[in-house]
């Protein structure tokens, strides 16, 4: 059975076993290795992606559930300027400036959770600490990530 998805705006198909975790399909079939493995059981958040505007742990999503889904991964966030320079997403840019990424292994998942939170702040009434609770970071102690998210929220706010 062929499964069709749109990943970062591109149509993709896979013949993987329908029960294969979406994470493995992203990493192995699509070679989108930005999305990381940390635990394989939905607890660390390293594999976080946005699927149909929802935040999911891709290690827990059998790829058949992604049939015709729209998937956003960390590779799809930055844009290219006319002169070829990379323009980071405001969340990425703020992480860069505030030290939100250290070893970087939690970062793709954390950034996706951050992007999703800025789109849907209503889902985390208690704010950032709640919004990012599903994403473990062992390096930062979260403070720099909070600072980055506050800066990203500022940047995204219309002046």
């Amino acid at each position: 059975m062929t499964i069709r998805m749109t990943i970062n705006g591109r149509d993709c198909t896979t013949d993987a076993n329908p029960m294969t975790p979406l994470l493995d399909v992203l990493r192995e079939s699509c070679r989108l290795t930005g999305t990381k493995y940390g635990c394989g059981e939905g607890e660390c958040g390293a594999c976080t992606v946005i699927m149909n505007d929802e935040l999911v742990m891709s290690c827990l999503v059998p790829v058949m559930q992604a049939e015709v889904a729209t998937i956003e991964t960390v590779e799809g966030l930055a844009r290219m300027a006319d002169d070829g320079a990379e323009i980071l997403h405001p969340v990425q840019q703020a992480f860069l400036e505030c030290g939100g990424a250290q070893c970087g292994i939690c970062t793709p998942g954390m950034v996706m959770a951050g992007v999703h939170h800025l789109r849907h702040p209503e889902l985390a009434p208690d704010g950032l600490a709640e919004a990012l609770e599903g994403n473990l970071c062992r390096c930062t102690g979260y403070s720099a990530i909070f600072r980055a998210m506050e800066r990203a929220a500022e940047a995204g706010r219309p002046a």
Binding site: Y37, E41, E86, E97, T107, C137, C139
Partner: protein, 712 residues
Amino acid sequence: MTISADSETKLRYVGRSVTRREGADKLTGRSRYVDDMHVPGALTGRTIRTSIPAGRVRNVRFPDGFPWDEFIVAGPDDLPANEVALITADQPAFVDGIVRHAQEAVLLIAHEDAGLVHEAARAIEIEYERDAGVFGMEQGHVLKQLAIRHGDFEGAFANGDVIFEGEYRTGAQEHVYIETNGFIAWWEGDGVVLHGSHQCPYYVHKAVKHAFALDRDDQVRVTQETTGGGFGGKEEFPSLLAIHSALLSRKAGGRPVRLIYDRAEDMACSTKRHPSLTRIRTACTPEGVFKGVEIDFHIDGGAYVTLSPVVLSRGLLHSGGPYLWPAARMDGYCWFTNSPPYGAFRGFGAPQSEFAIERHLDRLAAKLGICPIELRKRNFLRKGDMLPTSQIVGEEPELERIVERALELSDYRAKQSGYGEGNGRGLGLSVFYHGTGFTGSGEVYLDSVVALEAQADGFVEIQVSSTEIGQGTETVFAQIAAEGLGIDIESIRFRKPETGAVPDSGPTVASRTCSIVGGLVERAARQLREQLAGRDIATASATGPVRAEARYQAPPGLVWNDDTYQGCAYGAYSWGCNVAEVSIDPVTAELRVESMWGIYDIGRVINPVLAIGQVEGGMAQGIGWATCEDVVLKEGAMQNTRVTNYIIPTSADAAELFVEFVEHHNPCGAFGAKGVGEIPLDGPPAAVANAVTFATGKDIAAIPIRPEDLLA
């Protein structure tokens, strides 16, 4: 060319929060970690491990139903030397007949079908003959013993002063780097190529060369891929994976083999922080002036020597805390047990012993009826004081200023009197220090070398084996090099660490990278600047690279005697103070660290954003170790090997962290830098425990502090 003395205003990069150099790659998913490598034709490897802690392997059964002839199977007989070379080579790469701990490798299998490998690994059955095993300290054999003697310690306890004793324990701690251990290996001709996640390329190199009895250094090429956290957990341990993956590949005729652990395997078999037991006996005047201290510091080493002797050493050397002890007897014991070997973990023994002394001082203050802060102030180390190893404190640590700043920022006194004792909320304080770099003559033996090379394309390349593991090595080295060279930082690049291609600048451990290796980068940069003599980089290197190397030289007066344990243990010390504010739920006894303040003297702060990141992350790890991180051991092995049941702090648990620096520059470190990576682990446990004692009236003597300890 002479370089004028730096004044703050002249520095262009040092002291500034230059953006993390590999940051954009990490943020866009471009960075390549070992598991991201696409290696066509690679087999997947898996390790078959012991399930008992002590005994003998009788038989290994390969049950029917698997195409065993398609598998690569490798074991101890395939390895020229079944040894992992480190300080000693007592640890085998595979069980050598005798099982000494659970989770020890028995054999390896590999196949191109990853799913099949995992099923097959589960199906293999091992039959054992069981022995009893030793679990816990003060039983069995001593792995290493150390002693420090200073002054008339017997006399100190003999003349009617206040004698006070206590016993303190700390639990194991799992690193939980979010990237598990992994290596990919293949053979090219008579040499092996290894790519992996690790802190110390030359440790891996040494271990692989030894295990395969290879003659030439260039037969082992170890490259560090982007590494998703280490914290000491990828110091010595990755050598095992390197040997294993190289062996499977060799048996597969050189075909690449991926050996990447899943989380449960990683947590079960990898090293942890050494559990500790410290007994302290102090003598002081009724006013709290210290006369002498006796300390017995015990750690559980696990089944093999690995790095335990040096962990014991650092722990013992820091066991008195940053105080003047006119007399001291300090004895350290590391015990062999049937646990998987305990290993390097950020702080390396010092967080254990400093927890004990800092908790002891609060208990002593209560006994004396003196404010715990006052007690500390009466005994702080000052310039010119002698440490128990006879080292004279060469700088003014300014601990009072550090402590006062922490009290002020946290509003300690007002809050504490407002909460009152035993009402479920409170603050606690700890003061601590940490020696920069390898202990004693360690840096001399390391003999580290760095190189800077001006190249024809106009770049200066930094060549070191020091690895970027999240702390910002590439960035701070680029800052130091650009500053020393007087060139734009954009013209500096960092060579990916690969043995043979970069000189051995020593391991990425012991808070030595920024200060000590950075100091060599600074020297090499100044030297290269002279060699370039004002020419631009491309012109100067048009006919070949212009290269400058710097080799470690011990600072004058840094003499250490390993036999007497006397002398200068460290060339520089960092100092700090933490204040913790905690709350305890009256019903569930759930402990929450609401806030933590940290004031640190880490010498020159090369990059504030990165330094704060190091410190905050370390504080959070220390808070986790003191509160929720509970390694459940059964017969020496960790049972809760998942992130669902071994709990590290999440964003919802995260304490609010406040960090400031006080700068006393270290004449021997890069632009005055001292160690930063490990000191953040030294203070949080005691600050939290002292706060919990204030808030609950419970006399906390062990971490982690579990809710059941507070309910009892």
